[in-house]
Symmetry: C2
């Protein structure tokens, strides 16, 4: 969008930082309100407004909320037309309005047309509007197909209304339906891609969340994310629980709404970023939010139901916003994958979903494209699954493709990864000797890259090397063999786990007919030849 | 200790709940102050008192602090003798006083005798006192042996002073030295066991913590924990960072002190329960403590150094206390192992430490003895390592030893774990058929136990079953073979991962010459025989 007066480009959505498919972005409404993504939009019931949007803004810095256009249509239409949706909620931040699709799902039908609901949303100046969609929920293929077709029909009707009206007040969302049927989701997303909507929203079937079928949800997101492209934001309807926030954001969800903070509270459920605890099983409050730092578990249990519900809702909101901040910090640090590995142990079903993400090669390759090669904080690796991370995989790929493959190596000095050797010292090594490090999870690392990202900024447990010893040794000896290597000067390792590695490496090299000279100290090597030239790698 | 008037037994330490080697306990001082363990004691410098003990009590509910008797001896002796240590700190909670051992470590020696420091601590009415010990730090075996000997000499001198004085004001601590030399630690702990101290304290070498050598620290704790017995509390000196709290508590540490909250703050380091972030790399504050909920990362960076140090110290304290509450909640829930699995992914070196805990069979067996068989919340399993948990291992052991081994089984009905079947339905099965479930990580589970803890309260990812399929099938078929089973009615599974399991199970049973009849529905089975009697298992 081009601002006519200032000729400044005012994008609806600007990406500020990326990690995996996550991004920190800036969303801009048509009248210039902005919010940072990933953006959490708490659901506000327009009638009861148990916790108001203004309260959330003041106490939690919330920049956006979502409310329901259908309920407003049924119960507050006159007021909405007079005061606008911002008047109804008493909120000057970003208001998204859902269309009533959820009510279709719950009650089978709604007595409003797509045209009426579109007009209302524009008339009451919703910042972000949603056409009347027909959620798929959990249904068989046939039924699901119908919901997609009906949704697409409604989208076209909505666009007609908008064209007739001319200038738009709202950003308009294309809801992607199809439920767990990935082919339908893809078809729906493809159809919608060129329709001219401002953002996309994936309908997530509530039963999946309630049944902790996170793997299915993650697959749904992954199915649509590449189709709609990365220029526009993707919203997820009903994101439910903070324990999934890092995952859905890593898969490319930029915005999501949830009423869970309140529904859980009504049901006496206390959210944490790693799960839910029923209030009657709470002995300590593992949180420092304004509720928890002024209340004990005992006091919480003894409150009136009404007061407890409010306190729990506020606590639950704090947990949601806190987790968003943690996710954002992880994106900035290039450490979102670290957070996923951690959060995957919040529940076995999250672990299952995580495992499937890490098995999805197309997805990992796409993540690799969007993940900066380097980041300001180091990488933490744990096990074989960690090695599949885009950043670890791309570092290994670059090493092998750009540095090691096709290279001719006559003689090689192999130094254990744990040994520090200065460039100065290395420069005094015989020139015909290539210097490579062994014993890191990346395989062979040349001296020239030893101190560049991620090779020196990676932490890993020795258990990882122990488990991968055979594999790494096979790879190392194969690379040296192919490079035509005749002699390997093998510097002995000191730490016990690398000693084992080194001994096995020596035998394997001999097996491949590479002469091995074991040396205790690099100085020995320098003394041996007296050459002053640097290594060639 | 027996209260003379009321004849109520007033124990120094009472265990209220256990999980692994962790316990929630009540510590009672000689004058009747109490505190709940696991107990975190922030270090208060008696001279500067940057954050006061009273402030910590009021704002964080801190029940106990630790300060330094040697510094008081050097700089505030007269005041201490007049007002007592509680007067100096202006605190009516529990005050532990360290002896100056740390200063010995830092400066080589101190100009005070064990007798003087013992007398001072009694005179100023420390609640918990520590004899002048000689910390081992990181040193070679010879040097370490000397520190142990000197410490033991000092302990004896201290006991002589106490005997001479008669009635004690303080609880007295036996510091266990030996550093990373486990045999020395064990020897020191054995010597001290019968000396009549009220609690024990392990000296943890600061460089281990600074170098993240958590595996070594965990081994030190595990070395002494069984020797000193479980009747008295174990303190850990200098516990450093909240990310290790769940682990040290799980290994049986009841109390620990740390100055890190302040040292980190001075160094602009922001603690989280999963690591540390330098303030200059903070863009968001992933915390809701009173500091973080009123401040942004930007504001924190722009504060004066002095103000920022105070704010960071307060935040760091909140993180420490919060993690203690989380650990306590996990103990009550019987879910401390879940927390360890989660926190093991906070840093690769914690993961390495965790792996080594899970490889230590003696330790796991000891944990099994102290872990209740059942708990109020279910168990979450992730991978092969999870299966080694005391509770999972003991459930499997009980199944095999008490239920399956030695049993005669003629005919068996094998039902997939995911299928729900009512007792009523099961009661209509032919009486000569034993009913067992297949496809859970526990192996074969009899109908009679299917709905008892932990078999129905365990969550696990299907990846775990997929990885263990061969092993579980081998075990199942071996058990049935030995039981003399002739016919297996195998109820077909519906979920795809169990279908694979069931097919492989069928072939394996046939291989072992057990006749397999595949059936689609349990009703079929009932129809087939028409018998009305219950299963024998």
């Amino acid at each position: 969008m081009l601002d006519a007066v200032n000729s400044i480009r005012l994008d609806l959505f600007e990406v500020l930082a990326e990690d995996l498919l996550a991004r920190i972005g800036r969303l801009r409404t048509r009248d210039g309100k902005t919010a940072e993504t990933p953006l959490f939009l708490p659901v506000i019931n327009p009638v009861s407004q148990e916790i108001t949007a203004a309260w959330i803004k003041e106490n939690l810095g919330g920049e956006a909320v979502i409310t329901n256009a259908y309920i407003i249509y049924k119960r507050l239409r006159a007021e909405a037309l007079e005061k606008g949706v911002h008047g109804i909620l008493g909120f000057d931040g970003i208001i998204m309005t859902d269309s009533g699709g959820y009510q279709v799902l719950e009650y089978g039908d709604v007595d409003v047309t797509p045209e009426e609901i579109a007009n209302l949303q524009e008339d009451m100046e919703s910042d972000i509007a949603v056409p009347l969609d027909i959620p798929t929920g959990i249904s068989g293929k046939k039924e699901a197909e119908k919901t997609v077709e009906k949704t697409l029909v409604n989208l076209r009707k909505t666009l007609e209304v908008l064209e007739k009206r001319g200038k738009r007040k709202s950003l308009w969302t294309a809801p992607i339906q199809g439920g767990v049927h990935l082919d339908l989701l893809r078809r729906c997303a493809s159809e919608e891609r060129e329709m001219g909507f401002d953002l996309f929203a994936l309908g997530s079937p509530t039963p999946l969340m309630e049944g902790y079928r996170f793997d299915k949800l993650f697959k749904m997101i992954s199915a649509v994310r590449p189709i709609i492209g990365f220029g526009k934001p993707l919203h997820l309807f009903g994101a439910g629980h903070p324990m999934i926030f890092p995952f859905i954001v890593a898969l490319g969800v930029d915005m999501f709404d949830s009423a869970s903070y309140y529904l859980y509270a009504k049901d006496d459920r206390y959210m944490t970023e790693t799960g839910t605890i029923r209030v009657d099983k709470l002995d300590y409050l593992p949180c420092d939010c304004p509720v928890c730092s002024k209340t004990t578990a005992k006091e919480l249990k003894e409150m009136s139901k009404e007061e407890r519900t409010r306190m729990l809702a506020i606590h639950n909101l704090h947990v949601c916003y806190r987790e968003i901040r943690r996710v954002k910090q992880a994106i900035k640090d290039g450490r979102l994958m670290d957070l996923l590995e951690l959060r995957a142990r919040a529940h076995p079903n999250l672990y299952q979903g995580f495992i499937e993400i890490m098995k999805n090669r197309n997805l990992l390759e796409l993540m690799e494209k969007h993940t900066p090669i380097s980041s300001r904080r180091g990488m933490n690796l744990y096990d074989e699954i960690s090695m599949k991370r885009p950043k670890a995989a791309s570092a290994r790929k670059r090493l092998i493709q750009n540095v090691l493959s096709g290279r001719k190596i006559q003689k090689v000095l192999l130094i254990p990864e744990t040994l520090k050797i200065s460039f100065e010292k290395a420069a005094r090594l015989p020139e015909q000797v290539d210097v490579l490090y062994y014993g890191s999870p990346f395989g062979l690392v040349p001296l020239s890259l030893r101190y560049s990202y991620p090779f020196s900024q990676t932490n890993y447990p020795r258990a990882l090397i122990e488990r991968k010893t055979e594999e790494l040794i096979e790879e190392i000896s194969e690379i040296l063999k192919r490079a035509g290597c005749k002699v390997a000067y093998l510097v002995k390792a000191r730490s016990s786990y690398l000693k084992v590695f080194e001994e096995k490496l020596a035998s394997k090299l001999k097996e491949k007919e590479i002469k091995v000279e074991e040396i205790i100290d690099v100085r020995e090597m320098i003394g041996k030849t007296g050459s002053l030239n640097g290594s060639t790698l």
